[in-house]
Amino acid sequence: MTARPVVAEDRAAAERQAAGGAPPPLGRERLLELYYYMRLTRSLEERLTNLYRQGKVIGGLFRSLGQEADSVGSAYALDRAAGDMLAPLIRNLGSLLVMGARPEEVLRQYMAKATGPTRGRELNVHFGDLGRGFVGQISHLGDMVPVMAGVALTFRMRRQGRVALVYVGDGATSTGAFHEGLSLAAARRLPLVVIVENNGWAYSTRLERQTAVRGLAVKAGAYGIPAAREDGNDVLAVFAVTRAAVERARAGGGPTLIELLTYRRKGHAEHDDQHYVPKEELARWEANDPLERYARLLTSRGWLAADELAAADARVTGELDRAVAATEGDPAPEPESALEGVWASPARQPAPWYREGGAARG
């Protein structure tokens, strides 16, 4: 597939729908909250880009520019009060924020601060908090699918009516772990929602070089579970399609695979100049920006006023100003803290004898 035709259609459909004068699908407050999270995601990443250029972000920086609707809309469909949980990927900053991760945590994490959620041990959005309902991912693609199947299995064993959600990229659907995890979840009808973010690329590899299928929703058929395919740049559509799958899972209907069509507008990571991406393709997707689309929809339908959005923007700016100010000067972790917590017991590794009396330098 080239990303264009499908999304163009979907977009047209969304705009037709908008023009139809339908009443707001969610209350004003929640419409605004969705907007707020999308804006927060984008602006936080922009701050991170600045910090990256200043050398304050230590490792790589992964952007979700243009995918904010997909992350925010899907996570927003979970019932946090009920204890639903998700496992994000590298580009699901928006999902984490919806689940309650704070910009300070993300900033500290990227800057490898002692005060960050992993105390400098892991990078970027690789962190979790069971209390708030998100599980820390690892880099190995696909592995979170079996793990979240286990989370869903536990929900079911305990008859808790909770739902687990996991993200995979188009690229990661080729992994064995994705297959094994989804296969297990489907065989046992576990309350698991799998979001396949089809953003057209896996690093530099286009979808059509990864697979012979045109869209990824068809993969659901191999597991005997329902599928959906949705415009990932339409936050309300993402919300609706995910909410339906979440409620089906909660009701005992088993897993759903949802393909969200979106686009990775930056390189794989900040160092990647995307020379392999056709300029027109980028331009087309820039014109389909999910945040702008949503703002336009909200104001053109009269669901929210422009100054309400501006106020949300200002709120984000203020929060991020404070968050950056509050974290930039935080301390790096103490070297010897690296020895703690490999096992529950023993709780601490002994320091190498040749390090006694302090860390080696150089």
Partner: protein, 328 residues
Amino acid sequence: MAEVTYLEALRQGLQEEMRRDERVFILGEDVGHYGGAFKVTDGFLAEFGEERVIDTPISEAAIVGAAAGAAHLGMRPVAEMQFIDFISCAYDMLTNYVATSRYRANLPCPIVVRGPAGGYVRGGPFHSQNPEAAFLHTPGLKIVCPATARDAKGLIKAAIRDDDPVLFFEHKYLYRRIKEQLPLPGDGDLVTPIGQARLAREGRDLSIITYSAMVWKALEAAERLEREDGLAVEVLDLRTLLPMDDAAITATVKKTSRVMVVHEDTRTGGVAGEITARINETAFEWLDAPVLRVTAADTPLPYAPALEDYVLPQTADIVTVARKLAAY
């Protein structure tokens, strides 16, 4: 007290923990309706039901991954590998996801992954493996290898209660060949602490450090050496490989000053190397002879009895090496 096999002891341990703690559940291939390829969980489905004894698809990565997800939420999953050789299919999940979860994300991951390991049963290269060395190298995992019926029971119970992920390598040659008098189920709580070696035989002339099925070969060799050479051989059964009981290793080295390490696994990159390095670092001055190894030869494990017996360590090998060591 009643005489039970290694396999029955293991069964009892699993069963007692499942009765004691409803967070404990079992998943794996053919563990339910069939009761496991070796019948370790025979009857469990009837007693505990389909929710706690789960027949999974053939997908070791998913079995381990799902166990991890459940463990995060406070469950105590016990995953069976039908043969431990198939743990290789979950290598990524175990070393990258499971082993690191506490360290990198403060996520407890108290799972047990267990299954039949080891050779001497004409199982060929893919039903005879000893995978401990592949995981010894992974901080965050624990590795347990019981040699006796008592420890099969005591260690599986400890493994399930442990707050860390434990790889539990049973030896299929021992399943029905080893018997021991053990307290009746429910008669006391037999738990073997993880991380502690066991002195299987005391001696002052030389030490054999070993674990799993090789403990029995070492004991056989020790008896022969006593009978034929008048040597008093100490046999240390490590029981846990990770974390390793350095104190027990150092103590036996200091006592006999002549040490050999015996394992069934292949030689290069095997566990004996690590033990040798630790002895070098902590008790070199006590050594009167080099630390010597008796291990499998460096080949895949062949099927034909003559080949398998040749590749695997035998009691006679232990005797030969012990004599050299004693004479050093």
